[in-house]
Symmetry: C2
Subunit: 355 residues, 2 copies
């Protein structure tokens, strides 16, 4: 094995998948795990086998991988725009039960045009902005929401299914009480929309949202029909701080000490092209008193937290626990699945599919 490489502990992975299936079963909410974290068809199939109703994809490219690997119930959680993408979306819809979100009449009109010659229908959800301030219609703008439902229903190839609302600004809130209160408030806005729209004659079949950090909150909210957690399967150092009691650290990056130019500094062969630091530096597994600093695309420095001499040697392998699993996995074409320290399977990762 040539470092740096990515490893998933298969026992931990399967335990995490089982734990989330148990949690959602007890909460009596459907589980639609996000494909974006792992981009692995095998892991998605394990999630389905454990009880997930389908998957969520962040991009059309991910959905294409999923369809090519036999996945059938797929929500694309991003607005799809542009004739090239819409043509591909219409084609993929012939091979799986696809659903997509919209937040503007333009997207609906374009979707309808792309599906004009298609024998299949496409499920459409309306995205509601519940505080992340990314995509989504303001929940107070009921007129726009109802007008959009009417527009969807005017198009014979489109079926209005319900709503998506994602509290992405809250999923990593470090304080559990505040996280709970704020997530409940955010989703109350979503539920006001669901209720008002139902009273206007448009009941929602699907109300979807949530992430790993809000599973236990959003999963309990009356009216949510499904949640979309992603990171729980592989986990990372950031989510472990709030969900480490429930999910085990399955993902790590293995690196090698390639140089020890001073007593206080170890250089490893994992830099920004091997481990992401957009959520902060990785933790160094087995060395809680060491810190990692990225120093280039291909290099990291390990130091003792107090600047004391550090005890590693050139040639030693060191494992890093990424702060952000999604962006770290995305740097690799494959991940090595180990069980009890023995290589079990090399899993291709469908990275490079940002479209």
């Amino acid at each position: 094995m040539l470092t740096p490489y990515a490893v998933i502990d298969m026992d931990y992975l399967e335990k995490n998948i089982g734990t989330m299936a148990d949690i959602t079963s007890r909460l009596e909410i459907n589980l639609r795990p996000h494909f974006k974290t792992h981009k692995s068809p095998l892991i998605a199939q394990k999630q389905i086998a454990a009880g997930a109703i389908g998957i969520t994809c962040a991009t059309l490219g991910e959905a294409e991988i999923a369809v090519n690997n036999g996945l059938k119930d797929i929500l694309i959680s991003r607005e799809i725009v542009g004739t090239g993408k819409l043509s591909l979306l219409a084609g993929l819809a012939r091979h799986a039960d696809l659903k997509v979100v919209v937040d503007d009449p333009y997207q609906v009109t374009q979707l309808s045009a792309a599906l004009a010659e298609s024998p299949v229908k496409l499920g459409v959800l309306i995205e509601i902005n519940i505080g992340q301030n990314r995509c989504g219609i303001d929940p107070g703008n009921l007129t726009a929401i109802i007008d959009l439902i009417k527009l969807i229903n005017q198009h014979p190839k489109l079926t209005f299914l319900g709503f998506q609302g994602y509290e992405g600004h809250l999923v990593l809130h470090p304080n559990e009480d505040e996280r709970t209160t704020q997530v409940e408030e955010a989703n109350a806005n979503l539920m006001n929309v669901v209720k008002a729209v139902a009273e206007a004659g448009y009941p929602a079949k699907i109300v979807t949202g949530g992430g790993t950090g809000t599973t236990l909150i959003t999963g309990k909210i009356e009216g949510m029909t499904e949640i979309q957690p992603g990171t729980y399967a592989t986990m990372d150092a950031t989510y472990s701080k709030i969900m480490g009691l429930f999910f085990a650290p399955a993902l790590k990056i293995v690196t090698t000490i390639i140089s020890k130019p001073s007593a206080e500094r170890l250089i490893v062969d994992a830099g920004s092209k091997a481990i992401s630091t957009d959520y902060g530096p990785p933790e160094i597994i087995g060395h809680s008193d060491w810190v990692y600093q990225c120093i280039g695309d291909e290099y990291g420095i390990l130091r003792h937290v107090n600047g004391q001499p550090i005890a590693g040697n050139i040639g030693d392998e060191i494992s890093l626990y990424p702060a952000h699993g999604c962006t770290t996995i995305n740097l690799y074409d494959k991940i090595h699945g180990f069980r009890n320290g023995i290589l079990e399977i090399v899993m291709p990762i469908g990275r490079g599919k940002s479209f």
Copy 2:
């Protein structure tokens, strides 16, 4: 074309390659461009055709791609450690003129062992730390340096070739005068080593270092035999601030506005998996009064710099000029080469080769 995708303007690329060839020719210094920025065999071949003596690779994986694509004179600028990598290195050395850096006796002993059964010899350079404080022997530690040369020369399969010193901490220094002074001081330490070691009977054939931002400084230093700039070919927004007079912005990422949830906010389909922000946000081409904010792996927000309403529409394509080309290109499997707005070639990128 499905956004987000990466584009290189072929006219700009070729102009940059020609400009650097001219500069190094006038400075009478050899050019060994870094492969790590573009990871494209075609671009490397263009650099060789314009006069480069060979290439620099940041990883063994890059060198493998280069060897597979017929490149012959390759310096691996990172210490190679571990039996798996050393076995591959010894094998690759049968197919090209490879050179590698070391900074510790352990690496030399391991290199020698890996080459024991090989019919070919490997060129070895000693890395000197000239202030980046990453890898490299302290230039004041002449005893260790000469001992290491002696050790290299003891091994029949290794040939001592000279030194590498990289002023990575200075290549982006914004003030030209300070950059010049500090780069000269840093490289003076390298030249003291070169001189002292030559007087001890070990003349260096190669003294290599430098980057795009120090080409005009390091390239002039008496005693340097070659420089290793990488970014100049494709360029990025960060290097443009100091080298934009010489090199044109060849690289861009094309993205689509997928949502306009408010008058002040446009959402594009390029997030952290499509454009890196480790050197800061990208510039928005043609809209100098707009700013980009990454809001997730697959989303960016565009806003007017003053928070005013912003004039874009859903479906519009927007081009971004990355702050860091190396880590942005690394997110893609291929780059689209356009000339005068017409697609000319799709260039595969050897990403995912961090080992």
